[in-house]
């Protein structure tokens, strides 16, 4: 019924209104006729009738108000009125829309990243019941894999999860040869129930079957969608195709779906049975457990159970398993966790930018409404409800916000592209962001919120307007005291709000600066690196070899690599070349081992320290620029003599008296026969895990093939790139040459996440500063404009232009000071939240706070200065005549 009436009233508004008019006028005329019949003068009768009725228009208005759809009708009127008002002052409208578009656009862009990366559930079946099970080995390894034996035991004993699967923690690589150029591919291994637990299905072919979890299973691989596309151009007949990996042949049985961004997304998956290691041992921690909680089981119960299972393993295998902890946590996207802090900081920054934008708009609206005071007072006098007036002003500000939001979405679309391009390469941010309906909804909600926030203050001012005073006042009042206080409050809050992101950006940029000052441990300039991995000798063959044969193999590989080094060193512009198996500044554990020191109690029950193990060629330290501190660097014959170099961190921790050289260390203490290595030299510390990571204990061996080739050049290292690759391919055409980059680029990449968050926070802080400056400028101009009269009087009474300038600037400076103090207190409270993202500076770093406070005050005063200059030029005669 209501709908029908509303539709009729709105659709046929003209007709409905005409009928109402005829009806009410008819009533008046009939009343007049009555009066004439009663003897009233015909001319007087109609007037009397109308008076008795209380006004024809008023009757009509009251009748309209009760009609269905009246709200919508007046809303439409408000919108049209608002649109007309906005069109009338295009300058104001453009500034307001642009300001809001910047604020809303920045928020939409950051939110669409947050939504895609953090909020969207993992693309698996019922992801909320999936958990990960890890080991830890504190303090050095907070997160590590499970041993194959523990995984088997726990898989059989657990009762809180419906099924438990595992995949290899550290991806490995293999050389793909045969079809086209040799290529290095990333491999991972998984149990047959791994994909079913996740609910991942192949697009073609099939995945693993349980039989393939056992050693010696058929050599098969499953391809990732991405690799299928890049290497095989999505050919459907790839199933059944045979690929050669490290010289062994594997049959492709299936391809994963496109949307399957599994874990580190390797190029290929193999069944667990192909993992060339003993699957019952408890020494090597190579697997990550994943499991699905049984229905109704809480993660805490599963955690308690796995802690009990872990304790049982420690009792059953005291030598191997003691001191391992267990971590049970909801399944998560590892790269998302890495981005979390950065994204939340950015979200906070853009939130503040938006608040400043709101303050600006509120100010603009206040200013404009002040000049509309008379119009508003007039409408009130003519019977407009105040509620209606407030609603109309709110409609106007929401309209502004929606227009700003529409433009903001365009900004956001561009911004997201820029974000994706700026983001560190390994984050694959651009590939992850797919804005959807949630983002749109977010933007719409933000627009309404912004509209209300901007419009509420100015609208509530209307309520306070005194009709009589407003009507009596001239065209320009001197500005009521209350409204001036409101303007000042807005300026103060803008300064306070802008200070927070500025301090955040300052702290992050100083951290980045300090980090880049940090010595990586090697000389990065003029150093080229490339990955030239040799096909691995199959584990099965290695096991069959005697130690002497293994030694021979290593020697052969050393010689092959030495040949490459010699040839590369012969190239023009090359000073030297050397090899290492794992580059510094890595992101995950690659090669490390527990160790014991000869002659000291073997800490069987205690925490055994862990050293990073690196294999290098003899010339590595001089080529990489790692300083030799004591003893000598490794030489070719040290491979057979079991000699090692260690880094300073290890030497000073375990041999504080400086007697490390000559001591012996074993890295296979868990075997029956320890294998002792003698320390012959001490080299400088190298940052193995990023410039911000604490130094590790590093041990250098020389032995066999080292896949990372380092080339020290006389000039731009990139010029050597092609020549070096040609030399390598002349020696062995099957060697893939990948990951070619300078060590400068490696250092830059390692700080890329920090640079990303620091630069973006900086950009948003600059935006906040700009908006705040515009806001302050606007308010001060307005206040000066309103005080023209007063300034004229002052000047007429003998004030000098300088005094006037001073008057305005001091006013602005006072506001700036209050804002800076409030903002500094807020920043102090908030900065602790980013303390984990800082390096080398404290969250309350006085220098950062001082510089930011000075900068902001300077900008605020500069923003006052322009209106102050204008005030200075006021001609007292003109100003006084102004009214």
């Amino acid at each position: 019924m209501w709908m029908k009436n509303a539709v009729r009233n709105l659709w046929r508004r003209r007709r409905v209104d005409a009928e109402l008019d005829e009806e009410v006028c008819g009533y008046a005329e009939m009343l007049a006729e009555e009066k004439i019949r009663g003897g009233t003068n015909a001319r007087e009768a109609l007037r009397e009738a109308k008076m008795e009725m209380g006004g024809i228009e008023q009757v009509k208005e009251r009748t309209r108000e009760i009609r269905a759809g009246h709200f919508l009708e007046t809303l439409w009127q408000d919108i049209r009125y608002g649109a007309r008002t906005l069109r009338k002052s295009p300058g104001f409208t453009a500034v307001a829309i642009l300001t809001l578009a910047l604020g809303i656009g920045a928020n939409t862009a950051i939110f669409s990243v947050i939504e895609s990366v953090l909020l969207r559930p993992l693309p698996y079946d019922h992801p909320q019941s999936l958990i990960e099970i890890w080991n830890s080995y504190l303090p050095q390894v907070p997160l590590g894999g499970l041993s194959p034996g523990d995984f088997r035991d726990w898989q059989g004993e657990t009762t809180t999860v419906s099924e438990m699967a595992a995949y290899a923690w550290i991806e490995q690589g293999a050389n793909l040869t045969g079809d086209g150029d040799p290529q290095r591919v990333d491999l991972n291994w998984a149990t047959s129930n791994f994909f079913p637990i996740l609910g991942v299905k192949p697009v073609i072919g099939h995945l693993f079957v349980p039989d393939e979890d056992r050693p010696g299973s058929a050599p098969i691989v499953v391809l990732s969608h991405r690799f299928w596309q890049s290497r095989f151009a999505g050919a459907p007949n790839v199933v059944g195709h045979v690929v050669t990996l490290d010289g062994l042949r594997y049959t492709v049985v299936g391809v994963l779906g496109e949307g399957t961004h599994l874990l580190d997304s390797p190029d290929m998956w193999m069944p667990m049975g192909q993992f060339e290691d003993n699957l019952t041992e408890h020494v090597h921690h190579e697997f990550v457990g994943i499991a699905r909680l049984k229905v109704g089981v809480k993660i805490a119960q599963a955690r308690a159970e796995f802690e009990a299972l872990n304790r049982r393993s420690a009792i059953a295998y005291p030598k191997e398993h003691k001191n391992f902890g267990v971590i049970v946590r909801p399944m998560q996207d590892a790269s998302a966790a890495q981005l979390r802090g950065t994204l939340l900081v950015l979200f906070a920054a853009v939130g503040l930018v938006l608040l400043i934008a709101c303050a600006n708009i509120a100010n603009l609206l206040l200013t404009r409404n002040a000049s509309r005071e008379r119009e508003i007072a007039l409408r009130t006098a003519l019977g407009a409800h105040r509620g209606r007036l407030i609603r109309q002003l709110l409609t106007e500000s929401i309209l502004l916000a929606l227009l700003g939001g529409a433009l903001g979405i365009v900004f956001a679309a561009v911004g997201v592209q820029v974000l994706g391009a700026l983001a560190p390469r390994n984050m694959e941010l651009a590939q992850k962001i797919h804005p959807d309906g949630t983002v749109f909804l977010f933007t719409v909600v933000v627009c309404f919120a912004v509209g209300v926030i901007c419009g509420l203050l100015p609208a509530l001012q209307v309520r306070k307007t005194n009709v009589g005073v407003a009507l009596k006042q001239g065209t320009r009042g001197s500005g009521s005291f209350a409204s001036r206080k409101l303007h000042s409050a807005l300026v103060v809050s803008e300064i306070a709000l802008a200070l927070v992101p500025l301090v955040g950006a300052g702290l992050l940029l100083r951290s980045l600066h300090d980090l880049l000052e940090e010595n990586p441990g090697f000389r990065a300039e003029h150093l080229l690196s490339m990955d030239i991995p040799q096909a691995a000798v199959p584990q099965a063959e290695l096991i069959k070899m005697t130690p002497a044969q293994q030694q021979q193999l290593a020697q052969k590989q050393s010689l092959e690599f030495e040949q490459i080094i010699e040839q590369v060193q012969g190239l023009p512009g090359v000073k030297s070349a050397a090899g290492i198996d794992v580059l510094p500044l890595g992101t995950q554990l690659q090669a490390a081992s527990r160790f014991v020191i000869e002659g000291r109690p073997i800490p069987d029950a205690g925490v055994r320290p862990i050293a990073e193990t690196r294999t290098v060629t003899p010339g590595y330290f001089s080529t990489a620029g790692v300083p030799l501190l004591r003893g000598r660097s490794l030489e070719a014959e040290d491979a057979g003599k079991h000699n090692i170099d260690i880094d300073q961190a290890m030497a000073s921790r375990f041999w504080p008296q400086g007697n490390a050289i000559g001591s012996r260390v074993s890295f296979c203490s868990l075997d029956l026969t320890p294998c002792w290595f003698s320390i012959v030299g001490i080299v400088g510390n190298v940052h193995e895990y990023g410039l911000d990571a604490a130094p590790t204990y590093d041990v250098y061996f020389t032995w066999g093939w080292t896949p990372e080739l380092l080339i020290r050049t006389a000039s731009d290292p990139h010029r050597t790139e092609i020549a070096a690759a040609n030399v390598i391919h002349k020696i062995d055409p099957a060697l893939p040459v990948t990951s070619v980059m300078t060590m400068d680029e490696l250092v830059a990449d390692s700080v890329a996440p920090r640079r990303f968050s620091a630069v973006l926070t900086g950009v948003f802080a600059a935006l906040a500063l700009l908006l705040a400056a515009v806001g302050i400028y606007g308010v001060m101009s307005y206040i000066v404009g309103r005080r023209t009269n007063e300034i004229g009087i002052r000047m007429a009474l003998g004030a000098q232009p300088r005094d006037v300038l001073w008057l305005v600037v001091v006013h602005g400076a006072k506001l700036a000071l209050i804002g800076v103090v409030i903002g500094a207190c807020g920043s102090l409270a908030l900065a602790r939240f980013i303390s984990s993202m800082l390096f080398g500076v404290h969250a309350s770093d006085p220098l950062t706070f001082a510089v930011v406070a000075l900068l902001l005050s300077a900008v605020a005063i500069a923003a006052c200065y322009i209106p102050a200059r204008r005030a200075m030029k006021v001609d007292p005669m003109v100003a006084l005549r102004y009214e």
């Binding site: 005829e22 008819g26 009725m53 009757v59 009251r62 009748t63 009760i66």
Partner: protein, 109 residues
């Protein structure tokens, strides 16, 4: 003026309009005059209340309106009860009886 009082008056006005229209169709001024007549001048319904009430009741579906000729040959809008309006009159009258009975008792006690 308190809200409850307005509502009571509004309810009363609705009932009075329904009651006078139960006799036959009538235009606005006619309804107003008739109400004054039957209540012996206790209720003077002003057009500012009458027209909103009529339009609201029409939207509720209690009344139906049509254009016709007045006594003085003027085009006027005539209102008449619908079936729904009659039912509404009955229930309003019952409700009113209950209220007035209760109030009478309360005052007489």
């Amino acid at each position: 003026m308190g809200r409850s009082q307005t509502e009571l008056l509004q309810g009363t006005l609705d009932m009075l309009i329904l009651k006078v229209l139960a006799i036959g169709e009538m235009h606005g001024l006619g309804i107003s005059r008739r109400i004054a007549q039957v209540t012996r001048g206790t209720f003077e319904v002003k057009p500012g209340s009458l027209f909103p009430a009529l339009h609201r009741m029409e939207e509720e579906g209690w009344l139906r309106s049509s254009w016709g000729e007045s006594e003085s040959n003027r085009r006027a809008r005539y209102y008449q009860l619908t079936r729904k309006g009659r039912r509404q009159l009955q229930s309003e009258a019952k409700r009113w009886e209950r209220i007035s009975l209760a109030i009478e008792r309360a005052l007489g006690a």
